[in-house]
Amino acid sequence: MITLRGLTKRFGSTVAVDALTVDVAPGRVTGFLGPNGAGKSTTMRMILGLDRPTAGQALVGGRAYRELRRPLHEVGALLDARAIHPARSGRAHLRAMAHSNGIPTRRVDEVLDTVGLDGRAAGKPGRTLSLGMGQRLGIAGALLGDPPVLMFDEPVNGLDPDGVRWVRQLMRSLADEGRTVFVSSHLMSEMQLTADQLVVIGRGRLLIDAPIGEVIARSTVAVRVRSPHPDGLAALAARLTTAGASVEAADRNELTVTGVTADQVGDLAHELGVRLHELSAHAASLEQAFMELTADSVEYAGGPTGGGAR
């Protein structure tokens, strides 16, 4: 259980995290979403007592991280997969972690086995590890103390498709064991596959904290209309607009309509005698839902649409 209460972090005049109040519950995978620069990593660092909150608090199992004696038994975290000494082997890295929390060193071999790093890879110096191997090593470190709470910051970065699938299964099984699993990502599609609950932030502010199904359901359903007659389509667009729908012309032969049902669009087309080649309703993907949610809060807009995470 992770508890954030009015958690705030300011860097000078920039507000990185803005009065975040969230409970991350055990037994499910909670996706922590937001565009780059939204404050996800800063939030995670505050949970781990690495950054000091400007205001508010972050508690793990009801306690502040800095008060924990053997924190690896309470919280496992993967923050930055590249954070390993260039000359130190992965095994020595884990061994040092194990020592510090009184964890027997045989546990090191167990977690190395769990994450699929063989003896050769674990013996190589940090600088020679690929990003994917670094991620696996970081996850091994998180699992070391067999903690009830796990946090992963962008864990699938740099992993091959097999690795990505493995991480998904791992998070699922950790949650099924009753653990709290808090995973950040800027990839919506990834979260759609793994998360049960979504916490979305933009510019440090909480935008949504809800079950994933609800997030998708809340977002708009779009209707796609295709016609071989541009003129008829234009007339239809005008009628739809007066009917209160919002219409976007994909090109001369295609419209994307929101705010009305596909049935209503079909009826209007029939009324106007416009021949249609396609009339289809599309449930918004999480990606779209996310774009809508964060449209106003993207720190670095990528283009004229101001869309989404990069």
Binding site: R45, Y65, R69, R82, I84, A96, H99
Partner: protein
């Protein structure tokens, strides 16, 4: 806090220090510098007695005094161990893992100080032994090596190097950058006190006497002036402790 956990944190720091090759290269470099420095200074001492200029004559010198003079240079290699124990964590980002494992900044720094101090003390004993072995035959008839005195000097050298190593560690924790820390250390150990002593004004000399390198020098040389020998050691230990406190304050206040 159980004793077990404290031991664990120290064991973790030892694992970190011993698992990187740079530690062992640094130790080897220290040995080479000590051997070269002791050899050279011994040659000078013998030369001064045998050249044509009688004003140079120093008579018989102890092996210990050659060792102590060799430390002047060798210490910069040894303090790198203390320095790197913390600054490498900042550059590689492993400080976050370290603080994640042990959230108490003070405990982390104390464990690092224990390991750094023990390693540099042991290395200091080794360096002293090697220096003595090199200096003794080079000095020949112009050298003496009374057993008790030499052993005492070797232990004193080890204690000096251990405290300098901890001083470097504490400063490194406060300043984070290896280059900046080394610069400050060079200034504190050598440049500033030398500049103060240069004009040979009593007040300035007195101020210089408080600096860690000078205090340590008085302790090593067994001086009774300007203060008794233990005071030199205490002054140096005070500097090391102050550096650790400074480092802890910085680790506590700053975001990692």
């Amino acid at each position: 806090m159980s004793t077990n956990t404290r031991h664990g944190v120290v064991a973790a720091e030892w694992t970190k220090l011993s698992s990187v090759r740079s530690t062992w290269w640094t130790a080897l470099a220290g040995l080479l510098v000590m051997a070269a420095s002791a050899g050279q200074l011994a040659i000078y001492a013998a030369n001064d007695n045998t050249n044509d200029d009688p004003t140079d004559d120093r008579g018989i010198v102890t092996v210990g005094s050659v060792l102590i003079d060799s430390v002047e240079l060798t210490q910069y290699v040894v303090l790198a161990l203390g320095l790197l124990a913390i600054t490498a964590e900042f550059t590689s980002g492993t400080i976050r893992t370290t603080l994640q494992c042990t959230p108490s900044r003070g405990r982390v720094l104390l464990a690092k100080a224990a390991v750094t101090g023990a390693v540099t003390f042991a290395l200091g004993l080794l360096l002293g032994g090697v220096g003595a072995l090199v200096a003794r035959p080079v000095l020949g008839e112009w050298g003496s090596a009374p057993t008790a005195g030499t052993i005492g000097d070797i232990v004193a050298v080890a204690a000096y190097l251990a405290l300098i190593g901890v001083l470097a560690l504490g400063l490194g924790a406060a300043l984070r950058s290896a280059v900046l820390t080394l610069t400050v250390l060079l200034a504190t150990l050598m440049i500033v006190p030398l500049s103060l002593q240069e004009p040979d004004i009593d007040v300035l000399n007195r101020i210089a006497d408080v600096f860690p390198g000078v205090a340590g020098g008085h302790f090593l040389a067994g001086d009774t002036e300007p203060y008794p020998r233990p005071v030199g050691l205490l002054l140096l230990a005070g500097w090391a402790a102050a550096a650790l406190l400074l480092g802890r304050a910085a680790l506590r206040r700053r975001d990692a």
